[in-house]
């Protein structure tokens, strides 16, 4: 068994709104082993991004972490000062986002942005040294003719190339953990395949851990060692990737699996999930999935199901999992 790099315990992140305080992430427990990839899936609005921003301590006002611990190699990030946290970001934990254009500055060259990120962690390095290291970083993410690209602006690059630049910047200081929030959602499948391939190679090279957030179950199956399924701010199922797909327990996971159009079969209609994710200010009582769950029973409307181990190493937050036990 590999040791955990990151452990999240009872994390709760709230936002102050007109209607009072709402909870976007509600009591999440997770762990990420060294050198492995944790996939987090769920529909948009389930709290995946707020969770990852919480790990980075980047939740902006009016949001805040209200409870819980984020232990990186045993050290609780929640209690760190902003100066300490700046040191952690970049050198130990780094993040890439869905839309590379919004996180790159359009008025500076690619090279300038990478060297700035490097300078923040190594103020004494000379300009030529930084340039060399930046070009090497671009080379590592397989950008062709990196010395030419160094002097180009973000708008001169394709979407896939921009995402590579983001990855190069994130990995410039060799972090132990990379959080990738929907890194390929805005890209074509062909470019997505290149980026996933790159992430896998870089992980093998550096031994970093990855948290990969996505709503694409194909991407999860391709990349993740372990999977957490999130719904309405909570983790509703957790297991190794093989077990999530081979032995899915939670009705929400089933609904997601049924919704995916597959190349290996063709159904007349896809198994959709009815309705949509409730916003944090209108969470249903009991099991938060009950208004959309085809298996919902009376007790589901009153009791919030805890995440419990259904079979060894495989947990689900459902009163009726596995569902065949209750099917008439």
């Amino acid at each position: 068994m590999s040791e955990d790099l990151l452990r999240i315990e009872g994390l709760r992140t709230v936002f102050r709104t007109h209607g009072g305080e709402v909870t976007a992430v509600d009591g999440v427990d997770l762990s990420v082993p060294r050198g492995r990839t944790l996939g987090i899936v769920g529909e948009s609005g389930c709290g995946k991004s707020v969770l990852s921003l919480s790990i980075m301590r980047l939740v902006a006002h009016p949001g805040r972490i209200a409870a819980g611990r984020v232990l990186l190699e045993g050290r609780d990030l929640v209690g760190l000062s902003s100066a300490e946290m700046r040191q952690v970001r970049g050198s130990q934990v780094a993040m890439i986002f869905q839309e590379p254009m919004t996180s790159l500055n359009p008025v500076h060259t690619v090279g300038f942005q990478i060297t700035e990120a490097m300078r923040a962690h190594d103020p004494r390095a000379s300009a030529t040294e930084l340039r060399e290291r930046a070009i090497e970083a671009l080379n590592r993410v397989r950008i062709p003719s990196p010395d030419r690209r160094f002097d180009e602006y973000p708008h001169q690059l394709s979407g896939g190339m921009r995402q590579r630049v983001m990855i190069a910047m994130a990995l410039a200081c060799r972090p132990k953990l990379l959080i990738a929030d929907e890194p390929t959602t805005a890209l074509d499948v062909t470019v997505q395949a290149q980026i996933l391939d790159l992430l896998r190679d870089l992980q093998a090279e550096t031994g970093m851990s990855i948290i990969l957030i996505t709503h694409d179950l194909g991407v999860v199956a391709e990349m993740a060692d372990e999977v957490a399924v999130m719904y309405a701010g909570r983790v509703v199922e957790r297991a190794e990737a093989g077990a999530i797909f081979g032995d899915p327990m939670h009705p929400y996971t089933l609904g997601l699996l049924g919704s995916v159009p597959r190349l290996d079969e063709e159904r007349e209609t896809l198994l959709a999930i009815d309705g949509s994710v409730p916003p944090p200010f209108a969470l249903p009582k009991g099991c938060r999935f009950h208004p959309r769950c085809p298996f919902a029973a009376a007790e589901c409307k009153s009791d919030q199901p805890p995440l419990r181990e259904v079979v060894s190493g495989h947990s689900a937050a459902c009163l009726r999992a596995p569902v065949e036990a209750f099917a008439a």
Binding site: E43, S44, S158, G159, G160, M161, D188, V189, T190, V191, Q192, A193, Q194, L196, D197, H215, D216, L217, G218, V219, V220, A221, E222, A224, A241, G242, F245, G246, D247, P248, P251, L254, G255, L256, L257, G258, S259, V260, P261, R262, L263, D264, E265, E266, R267, E268, T269, L270, L271, A272, I273, D274, S276, P294, F295, P322, V323, E324, A327
Partner: protein, 353 residues
Amino acid sequence: MSETLLEVTGLAKHYPVRKGLIVAKQVGTVRAVDGVSFSVSRGETLALVGESGCGKSTTARLVLRLIEPSAGSIRFEGVDVTRITGAAQRAMRRRMQIVFQDPYASLNPRLTVAETIAEPMLVHGIGDAAARRKRVEELLSLVGLRAFHAQRYPHEFSGGQRQRIGIARALSVQPDLVVCDEPVSALDVSIQAQVVNLLKDLQRRFGLAYLFIAHDLAVVKHVADRVAVMYLGQIVEIGDKRSLFASPRHPYTRALLSAIPHPDPERRGQVKPLGGDLPSPLNPPPGCRFHTRCPFAQERCRREVPELRRLGPGHDAACHFAETLPPAGLDFTGGLSENAAKRLALYAKARAA
């Protein structure tokens, strides 16, 4: 049965690229769409797939006559729509409607849902106020929305619901052809499935034809009857869906198919990325436009343009070596595990109950 509704021949859209502020000189041409031909039969779905920037939306806009073609013809029930004007053109416009990709940007935020849906009827002078109100009610229920939604504004709806509003609006004037420009690409997979199911259901009920633009071949497999694959402004392969998925003849189609990750960790590592970037449509490569990225490219490919040619019943591809390429080696078998299949069946049964 297969009565041709739309026939597009040699369609092209070229944008001049100018430089210089005072005396603008043309320095090049963006070949956004460059000689595209296809047809859509009544009640049929033709999917148009390809990477971002390959010319799918431009093709859609040309078909709907939102922009003028640089060359080619567009026939609707045999009538060349590039040549008609006035009342005849308006009548034609009613019969072709569009659903856009971005459910956030495509609806006017100042119109209520009822006004949004009724607008095309108003434009085409269909019915009086009372008849239109009644029709809006019907349409709302048709797309799975509720009567009380009529007086709300678009921002009060989720992405999937807005897409339903867009569909109701398109159907309000009873079109024969609906151009769907990436109608589900911006949606979560669960909501995408709802909208795909709705589109298929509406097609069955009203005999609609769809020109369905997508970049996700897995979605296309569920909605299309025929598929056209575009690369840099041209169709490189077109065929009956079964034939195209079973034996893709163009290396680019194969590359698109093998880039899709399967929702099955046991088949991890089978995704094969296609090297290189999409070349600019400003200076498309000579010869076969795909040769800069094609693993099978030969000397001839750099010189000679491959024509789209017949390779099987209703199946054409534009590759010099389509007959002699090695087997595609794409394995779509496998499917769901026993436990997953069993529980999904229970899910389906419980949901239907």
